[in-house]
């Protein structure tokens, strides 16, 4: 099952040229771009690992692309996403976030049903991949 998260979740994966164009847009807006990776892609897991520091004061997307490729090389079977943070007063939030790398095989999520008191039905999801310890998932 193909995981979708973030700004372009309804689109097919962006090509490098398209990623570069998005980064150029972010930099033109003055947002700081950062890279994060994880192998626990549960939708409620919002805290991914940071790959390097957020990149402030960049003028050109080439610097970000160098880091993206370095991260892909270091974590070829992890999910990698780009975040763009807007620090202007009133926003102080992520304005853009999308996945730039995904594992070759994505086993998807299990839907668990739990019977509660009074026949109430509780649901939870769990990635099949997270059965194995961190770093061995998706390998």
């Amino acid at each position: 099952m193909r995981l979708t998260q973030g700004t372009f979740s309804f689109l097919p994966d962006l090509t490098d040229t398209q990623i570069k164009a998005q980064v150029e847009y972010c930099l033109a807006k003055g947002w700081a771009v950062s890279i994060e990776y994880t192998d626990d892609p549960h939708p409620r897991n919002t805290y991914w690992e940071m790959y390097g520091n957020p990149m402030f004061d960049l003028k050109d997307a080439a610097g970000v692309m160098t880091e993206v490729n370095a991260c892909r090389k270091a974590f070829p079977n992890h999910y990698v996403k780009l975040n763009a943070f807007d620090s202007t007063h009133g926003w102080e939030a992520l304005r853009l976030s999308f996945i730039v790398n995904r594992p070759k095989v994505e086993p998807g999520f299990e839907l668990r049903r739990e019977e509660g008191a009074g026949r109430i039905q509780r649901y939870s999801t769990r990635s099949y991949a997270t059965a194995r310890p961190e770093g061995e998932r998706y390998s």
């Binding site: 520091n53 960049l58 003028k59 970000v64 160098t66 880091e67």
Partner: protein
Amino acid sequence: MNDALTIDLEALSQEAGLPALLAELDGSLVGLAPVKTRIREIAALLVVDRARRQVGLSASAPSLHMSFTGNPGTGKTTVALRMAEILHRLGYCRKGHLVAVTRDDLVGQFIGHTAPKTKEVVKRAMGGVLFIDEAYYLYRPENERDYGMEAIEILLQVMENQRDDLVVIVAGYKDRMDTFFKANPGLSSRIAHHIDFPDYAPEELLAISDLMLGGMQYRLSPGAREALVEYIEIRRTRPHFANARSIRNALDRARLRQANRLFASRSGPVAPDALMTIEAEDLRASRVFADNAREPDLRGYGGTP
């Protein structure tokens, strides 16, 4: 190849805005013939490359890394600032910004600190020009555990692999840069343009002071101009002469004296013309003249370092 297909180079050059750029360069930079020649060559290559592409010949981006060497005050930093803009207008730089750094910005304090620091700077410079002032400080042969070498290695890698993304300009005094390059032949060979900045001739220094004064909206009285010509003659033979920088300092001190002179005679009204004009006495009060006449300077101001 179709021989009937001809390209109008003049039209291409007009289209790229080259004549205006080169004229502006001539107007705002005095002397510096080697620099201007090199910029002209790079500009010509741009036009020829565009023409080549139009007729289907291959045209790869040239290596543009540069090394500026020369005595103090010959305009290395000034030209580097302009170079970013020039390369941007020629289309060799995507963004045309300049990131000026020295050893402190590249080399870290402890093991493992240098690489991230250098990479960070390189990332910031991408799409523009990375200007490393006094680059010879990067290499310190007297300390074999110095981290400068690590920064140089990262720079070499970037200069080779990401030639399209950034232009590296290193600058420094001639003799020290020569020893620096001798110790780092890899760096020297990756720099395509070694440009030597010559010292300025007296008349060029005079032209520079005119440009400086024009920028500050001052002007010289005829007597002051004579004094300045004499001043340049004497100052050139003195120790610690730093070309245009010495001239700028001299003019700054003349401004101080002019202000003091106007302030001392503040009883009457003052015309805008008087506010703009530097008189001969403002320049002649300089210690350079006094020392030259072997007279002690008792006024206590107007010193030259």
